[in-house]
Amino acid sequence: MSRTSLFVPLGVFLLIVGVGYAGFKLNDPHELPSALLGKPFPEFAAPLLADSGTVVDRTALLGEPVLVNVWATWCPTCKAEHEQLLRIRESAGLRMVGVNYKDDPAKARSWLRQLGDPYEFVVQDADGSLGVELGVYGAPESFLLDARGTIVYKRVGDINPRIWRDELAPALARLNGVAAGGKNE
């Protein structure tokens, strides 16, 4: 046994930490650059969840800031987020549009009946094609658009009180500030 053998435990530990750190960095969804930030929301045409016969397109999102929320009934985080969205809808009056992602419309409709519906309308994206356009990484994801339909903020993961307070609400305030400023000019 030499003195250097005493460094073996430290070496093993640093190896484990190194592997862990590399792994987490590799896979951090927040590190994904969003190519869409600052770009217009992509063109689309999708049927409404409430009425599959009606098809809406990008123009339905314009006019005032809107939060586009990608959700699905198979996603447990979406359920937790849903309460939060209802709360934000009630307290902040933010306009919301849902994208029901790779989901069964019947299940989605009964989900909204049971849990409450914060959305102005929900579009179906059963095959996930709109999700591909949006670069959706997984549900839930949310996009904040300004009145002209430009994506100003993107959130991968749920909107919780912390995200609302630290990121979404300030982004919305900036938007409204700009809008108000524009009117005053």
Binding site: F13, L14, G20, P29
Partner: protein
């Protein structure tokens, strides 16, 4: 207002921990007696302030203050008061608050009971513990604040506590587990203090032994409670799943068991010194890894970890500082293993070495099985694999049998050397009895010879008989001379044998039937008749339930069992509440599956022989740990000034 006071208390406690760390470590290094004298009041202060914060959060729960985000997410006005109290540790933030409270409690205990320690040494121990709790409190304050408000979006009703946690087992399980995890910080702090002092004699081992035993007993109890809870609450009768959360508590237990034994050798014989230091550091590091990583969610998926990157990075940084720092200190200060005391092959030292090797290999096995899927997912970019039960069982069964084999020899072995002739004289009868029992008992219990049962019973009886044989031998010289320490060892080792019986018999002999039953249907379970009488409705405080009635006929005895399917209103979640007729030799376990057409139900009927023995064994082990600490020599130790106090330390 009260939640803000709680937060303020946490901030004050954080500052006090900083003072404890500074005055403890610097006071010892620069020999400022007055700094060291002040530690006691600072330690008391941090405990009191964390207790205030804890009380503030409890009050927020009891008062249904849903403006506090943590309360809103984990409570509900319909929740019974005792679950409101336990909901405090029902999720991440609050359970971490409990963790810091327990940490402060252990620090206070060391300050109060450590008056026999040299002042400088005690200062270093308290300083290290203060530093640790400072880290925990920083984590709480900056990344996991339990007092965060939901203003102005205050909801009118809370989301309710996860129904799985609305249960007695979960009221007591986390505090026990945390007492164990955090308790090992004491052994850790003693080891670091010894390394800082550069005095690697046997004194630190003697001082930290009782603390390690108590922490070990708590951890044992915590794990046993967790297993018992999973058994009756998860609704399908499993008692151990090898899932990452359980493994996280099992790894420090394995390392801690090795530590408790290694400390004995270091104290009594002065060998294994470096090894014991390393085990003390490893055990607490695994506790940290386990608790932190379970709470950060990294083990369910790396994604969960990354979703809150501040928490993840804080944890990683904290681990690097504490574990990396202490291992670096170890590398710099520990002496290369030299064995001043010689021992031969047939000696207690060798047996304890075997114990250590087997336990550390087991721990490495669990560590690998737990972390490998994680590393795999991270490097493949999201592909998941799972390391399943077969991996763990294949590795664990032979290791535990080898441990049992060595354990049976242990009580007879003496320090330094034991003559093989004497060994043979003392062990031939236990050997014969255990082989005979291994062949006869399985036939009596199950009427068949399954090799797993034969092996487990042979080894279990081997441990049992060789220990009782030794006790008999000692009793002839007078039971009064048998120390509490010996009784503790005996209880813990018999606990191991009892758990071994329970685990093997339940695993091999359980009967499990999934049946479709309509009201009035009859079935059999082993030799018993089961009659399904039907399903009725019942409502609880925050749930509605469908309740089945089963009539079990066992000879002339009749038992009724009432399994339930509960729907918790606030979360709209459905829970299966199994009904259990518990017995020392067998449990009857019935759970309702899904309702089928025409009033029929999918029903799971289970007969689980000897399942209670698993937890009984755990209780015995924990009891043994406590008995050993009550040994008179620890009281003597506190009264007398320890030998080997150097001038530098006394100064």
């Amino acid at each position: 207002m009260i939640p803000e006071l709680g937060q303020l208390s946490l901030a004050l406690a954080f500052c006090l921990c900083g003072f404890v760390a500074f005055f403890g470590l610097a006071g010892a290094a620069w020999r400022r007696q007055r700094w060291l004298d002040a530690l006691g009041s600072m330690v008391t202060g941090q405990f009191v302030f964390i207790l205030l914060a804890y009380a503030a959060l409890s009050q927020a729960f009891l008062a249904d203050d849903f403006s506090v985000a943590y309360v809103a997410n984990n409570s509900n006005s319909l929740l019974p008061w005792y679950y409101k109290m336990s909901a405090v540790w029902g999720a991440h933030e609050g359970s971490f608050l409990l963790w810091t409270l327990i940490m402060a409690g252990w620090t206070l205990a060391v300050a109060l009971r450590g008056e026999h320690l040299p002042a400088a040494f005690a200062g270093r121990v308290l300083g290290v513990m203060g530093l640790l709790n400072m880290g925990f409190l920083a984590f709480l304050l900056w990344t996991s604040n339990p007092f965060e408000r939901l203003v102005p979006m205050t909801p009118g009703e809370g989301a309710d506590l996860n129904p799985l946690l609305q249960d007695f087992g979960l009221i007591v399980h986390p505090p026990m587990l945390y007492m164990g995890y955090v308790g090992f910080s004491v052994a850790f702090a003693f080891a670091i203090a010894a390394l800082l002092t550069g005095r690697l004699d046997t004194a630190w081992a003697r001082w930290s032994r009782p603390w390690s035993n108590v922490a070990w007993a708590f951890l044992t109890l915590g794990i046993a409670l967790g297993s018992w809870w999973a058994y009756y609450e998860l609704g399908w009768g499993g008692w151990w799943f090898w899932d990452p959360v359980e493994n996280a508590s099992f790894m420090p237990w394995l390392a801690g068991t090795a530590l408790v034994h290694s400390l004995a050798v270091t104290e009594k014989r002065g060998t294994f010194k470096s090894w014991t230091l390393l085990l003390a550091i490893t055990t607490f590091s695994l506790s940290l890894l386990g608790a932190f990583i379970v709470r950060s969610g990294v083990l369910t998926s790396v994604h969960a970890f990354a979703v809150d990157p501040t928490r993840g990075l804080f944890i990683l940084g904290f681990l690097v500082l504490t574990v990396g720092g202490s291992l670096a200190l170890y590398a710099a200060r520990a002496t290369v293993i030299r064995s001043p005391a010689r021992y031969t092959l047939w000696s207690r030292e060798t047996a304890l070495l075997v114990n250590n090797i087997l336990l550390v290999i087991s721990m490495a096995l669990v560590l690998l099985g737990t972390l490998y899927p994680l590393a795999y997912e991270a490097f493949t970019g999201g592909d998941k694999i799972s390391v399943g039960v077969p991996y763990f069982n294949a590795g664990f069964v032979p290791l535990m049998l080898a441990l049992a084999l060595a354990l049976g020899i242990a009580p007879v072995l003496q320090w330094k050397r034991t003559s093989p002739t004497r060994l043979w004289r003392d062990l031939r009868w236990p050997l014969a009895i255990s082989v005979a029992a291994g062949l006869v008992l399985p036939l009596l219990i199950s009427g068949a010879l399954a090799w797993q049962v034969v092996a487990a019973l042979t080894f279990g009886v081997w441990v049992l008989v060789s220990h009782l044989w030794d006790l008999l031998f000692r009793a002839r010289r007078g039971l009064g001379r048998v120390t509490l320490g010996y009784w503790g060892m005996l209880a813990a080792h018999l606990g191991f044998a009892v758990a071994l019986f329970g685990i093997s018999l339940t695993s091999v002999l359980s009967v499990e039937k999934d049946q479709r039953m309509s009201p009035g249907d009859r079935d059999t379970l082993g030799e018993m008749g089961v009659l399904f009488e039907g399903v009725g409705n019942r409502s609880g405080p925050n749930f509605v339930a469908q309740r089945g009635t089963f009539r079990i006929e066992d000879g002339n005895e009749v038992v009724f069992l009432y399994p339930e399917k509960r729907r918790y209103l606030a979360r709209e979640s459905v829970m299966t509440e199994a009904a259990i007729d518990a017995g020392l030799f067998r449990d009857i376990y019935i759970s309702l599956g899904e309702p089928l057409e025409n009033g029929a139900w999918a029903v799971r009927l289970q007969l689980k022989p000897f399942v209670r023995w698993i937890w009984l064994g755990g209780l015995l082990m924990a009891f043994g740990g406590v008995l050993a600490v009550s040994d008179a020599r620890y009281r003597r130790l506190r009264r007398s000034v320890p030998v080997g106090t150097t001038v530098a330390d006394a100064a």
